[in-house]
Point group: C2
Chain length 356, copies 2
């Protein structure tokens, strides 16, 4: 598919950040990147790995004007045995195609996408950090590159993969966060782009994020745009609640991103015999559970943090403290289980890992 990946090695590799350096998120980039181009009539062609460096585009390139851009995010982990593994990359490739479809962009062969990621990670393997909890964040993205101002689907695209070594999301173990329930701004609506990983969704969320920070909250919990009543996502994560021994998470309504961590967590809960339901959840249901003492745990899920315990929810000026602001038993168990799989500390019975 698309031919062999041509490799042009970087003659002047960068100095890697030191083991003790605070890597942050998406600040350092590896020595190489993957690129493949698309042109109408020709299809995807010329897959290549080249030195990481600037992209040159006409100022009329459509990505700058009409936002035809989608992305994915996943991680490569270094196990104790020095293997390098990816966590469910096939799922990212699938979702990338769903996002492309939503923005009238051409599909990619999913197996090839995984192959391209593997090839790039293999070449820059020394960039996968060794420090406890750290990993190599992988960012595949597709964007419109045709130069032209007519509002229509571009006839040219680039599929690019860049990678960034990232530190442990939690330097000192899980940390509960405060979350603002957002009643003003809307993230997405049925028929919109909320269930695709589309660049514009993220720009649209920045104002609400700023309001959250002003309220000493780490993220917002989005309500549905129509009734401002039903829960959608928290920041850029999916959200789960444990109420009276049962776990609930918003069902995929068409405006919620289908998280890969979300899917994995539902799988684990089913395996463990813990009741889990995907359903419409009203903010009023959460308030009621809080008030009658059955709201036991709440957490966000996503690639960056795996799970993020919610210590409190701020809604209409009132703070609901969950589990006395402590880390719940379930969220800890989920975190340990998934990270143990990712770092090869337990056996991968689900075949979620793919070697590089």
């Amino acid at each position: 598919m698309y031919g062999t990946i041509r490799i042009e090695r970087n003659p002047s590799c960068k100095t890697k950040p030191g083991q003790e350096e605070n890597l942050g998120f998406g600040r350092h980039f590896t020595d190489h990147m993957f690129i493949m181009d698309y042109e109408e009539g020709q299809g995807w062609h010329d897959p290549r790995i080249i030195p990481y460096g600037p992209l040159s585009h006409d100022p009329a390139a459509m990505v700058f004007h009409y936002g035809q851009a989608v992305f994915e995010g996943l991680k490569a982990f270094r196990t104790d045995k020095e293997d390098i593994v990816l966590f469910r990359p096939d799922q990212n490739a699938k979702r990338l195609n769903r996002s492309c479809e939503r923005l009238s962009m051409p599909a990619l062969d999913e197996e090839f996408v995984v192959h391209a990621i593997q090839s790039l990670v293999r070449l820059d393997a020394e960039w996968v950090p060794r420090k406890e909890g750290s990993s190599l964040y992988i960012r595949p993205f597709v964007m419109a590159t045709e130069a032209g101002l007519g509002v229509r689907a571009s006839s040219r695209y680039s599929f690019i993969i860049i990678m960034s070594p990232v530190g442990a999301y939690y330097e000192e173990g899980l940390q509960p966060v405060n979350i603002l329930v957002e009643g003003h701004f809307a993230r997405a609506v049925q028929g919109g782009t909320g269930n695709a990983k589309v660049a514009g969704n993220y720009a649209a969320s920045l104002n609400a994020q700023a309001v959250a920070k002003e309220n000493n909250c780490a993220q917002v919990l989005w309500l549905d745009a129509i009734e401002k009543k039903y829960l959608e996502e928290v920041g850029s994560m999916n959200v789960f609640f444990k109420i009276n021994g049962e776990v609930v998470t918003p069902s995929l309504s068409g405006s919620i991103l289908e998280g890969i961590t979300r899917k994995s967590i539902i799988h684990l809960l089913n395996e463990w015999g813990i009741p889990v339901k995907e359903q419409k959840i009203a903010i009023d249901d959460i308030v009621a559970a809080y008030e009658n003492g059955t709201l036991e745990e709440a957490f966000g899920t996503g690639t960056a943090a795996v799970v993020s315990p919610i210590g409190s929810l701020l809604w209409q000026g009132k703070s609901m403290v969950i589990n006395q602001g402590n880390i719940g038993e379930l969220v800890q168990r989920l975190y340990d289980t998934i990270t143990d799989i990712q770092f090869g500390r337990t056996s991968d019975t689900h075949n979620w890992l793919v070697s590089c």
Copy 2:
């Protein structure tokens, strides 16, 4: 403000398209472009006009990943007296700032924006075409340029202006178009970005546009995302209806773009003593007016076409032909009046024109 604009002339100017060439829209670009950069702490700085050419950005530049990009569109016209004029550029500068605010991007001095446009047009004045109905399309845009993958507002931006000579939108006079009323996809919702000129809005609209084409329609008429009942915009234009001698247009609900042509048309109608109302308009109201024979005219409005008569509306598989598919008297009068002002064929009593 921001200092003097530095000018670096293009040593190798392009051959301009011939007078008889079909210019199309946004396919040819002039010899120069304007750029100014923003950096947190430093603000907007280094305004310059340089040869039109590729932009170089880190592959992690935020515009590629999180869609922080907004734009404007306006035109320069060559009058019969060889003056070159802009149509209400102050309004574009204002709206650019509103769009920036929605995406957490830094504001620009509005007078400076107009000054930058004037300076660039003056330098590339020979690119303003002379052929009847043609003009120079001007595209100011702002985008996030910081290299980083954390989801937050960028700390760096570029404000850029590029220009493209464009042909008459109607080569042979106004042409009524068929419009599909879109009941599935959503353009925008209250609390979203629909009232800002945000790149991502346009990518999100491409799928619906493709469905319109399949139905032999030029554009879609968007309904509100919540009830799928109230009219919003048509394609990337505002929409007006003349019903029983009165003109109605959807009120600015928070999800509709505040068009400058829309505003100018409302102004003219008021001046002419033609009743015009901004209000919620249900698609059922339009169907009722169609059925009782009071739906007299319908048209879209925007910078590209000025006005675009709607010959028929396709809704739930049924085509409603408006004014027997002919150009209405009012739409023709509006078109003539505005284009006469723009090309200096009538006196600019509203002070809408700004010289370059």
